[in-house]
Point group: C2
Chain length 217, copies 2
DNA sequence: TAGATTGTTAATCGATTAACAATC
DNA sequence: TAGATTGTTAATCGATTAACAATC
């Protein structure tokens, strides 16, 4: 597949489409039109058709889209037709939550390594995986050909962990530390900034309170 | 403050500005120009000035921006000059992680209630807060005038929890269940879709592998 | 005052939506 | 075939960037 350059906006919508199609699949729905899907998701049918057509012709004129086929195609686009060998660095509450989380929604992410610097945690087992010493991380990543490193350490150590993961040869980093990491451009990086998300929420709360007043103007 | 309508894009950038300004503040930097800040963040100086000017005139011509003043102003815009009474519903690993997280970064979010349906968890203490029975949630939210409800239950129960929180009178909901909740428009809602974020990452990994091939064209 | 940098308008760019021809 | 709905082009809308006048 020789993709044209895809905008960040479209990429951010793909997992959402996938979620709704997964839901429809579970409900046993076989076909859906861009119009029906747009009502479900709350966007325009035009956008849906544009987005899909960036990647291929997944529908059939006069009929719509086959839910199963479309779901599979989106999975392929998102790279979810593959398995990813994964390590988590930083086995605090969040690290443990993500271990269980990926274990629970278990499609394709195998957490095969957990790493921490805390001697009290090293040796513990979480979902059958033993927590290893952080100093062994780089060698492990290289030897096991780890695809994804998840960073759940604090801000101060996150960049060092990222550097180690990169040296070990990971393809992608999923970062939860509240900092913008620097990685070489051949390594994929996506960050979940929880505090940013919370602050967007308080912003919304604040403006809504203002809006209450403005309504009377 | 009578805000004009602010685009989602700007709102998403505000917490990021705040993060960098916080860092500069900690480093003891007193003033910064839009140009210096743009290099730090990796965006255009023009965008920074546009963004700030949406909310007010925070700078001084010929000088730049006072880091402390700007930081405080952004905090006010984000509503971070207030305290938020908060409950968490669903005390699994993620709920516990967020309890510790907000406890650790403790500015303004007081987790005063934890709720779950699991009798084995009810009664436990996390950071001095006892886990209560979910059936008491609505009354508690109303009595204590809770501002924010955090949802860390599974997809199946998330909407019911949201409805209960809304009935109790929360101002905002921070949702971690992988579903798009419906709430009345006077209630703020922000969701962290962890799986979506992970799928964006696998997308990036996939396209980078393609890009490797395309480079040779 | 001269130099620097903001605040703000105008130009550009990209993303979304509308419209319709293609086609199942 | 007629009806429906996609695929795709064209029009619109909004967001980003460039430019420069205002001003500290």
């Amino acid at each position: 597949m020789n993709y044209p350059k895809i905008s960040k906006a479209i990429i951010r919508r793909l997992p959402k489409y996938r979620r709704y199609l997964g839901q429809l699949k579970r409900q046993g729905v076989e076909k859906i039109s861009s119009n029906e899907l747009s009502e479900l998701i709350g966007c325009t049918a035009s956008q849906i058709r544009q987005d899909f057509n960036t990647f291929g012709e997944f529908g059939q004129q006069g009929y719509g889209y086959s839910v199963n086929y479309l779901y599979d195609e989106i999975n392929k686009i998102l790279g979810l037709d593959k398995e990813y060998k994964t390590v988590i660095v930083g086995v605090g509450n969040l690290g443990q939550a993500l271990t269980n989380y990926t274990y629970y929604y278990k499609i394709g992410f195998n957490i095969i390594g957990l790493f921490d610097v805390n001697p009290k945690i090293i040796g513990n087992k979480i979902n059958d995986v033993v927590v290893s010493d952080y100093s062994d991380l780089e060698a492990y990543v290289e030897k096991e050909a780890i695809d994804i490193g998840i960073i759940t350490v604090n801000r101060e150590n996150a960049q060092a962990v990222a550097d180690t993961l990169v040296k070990g040869g990971v393809k992608g980093i999923w970062n939860f530390a509240p900092i913008d990491l620097k990685v070489p451009k051949h390594v994929a990086l996506n960050s979940v900034h929880l505090s940013d998300s919370l602050h967007e929420l308080t912003y919304m709360i604040s403006t809504m309170e203002h809006a209450g007043r403005e309504d009377r103007d």
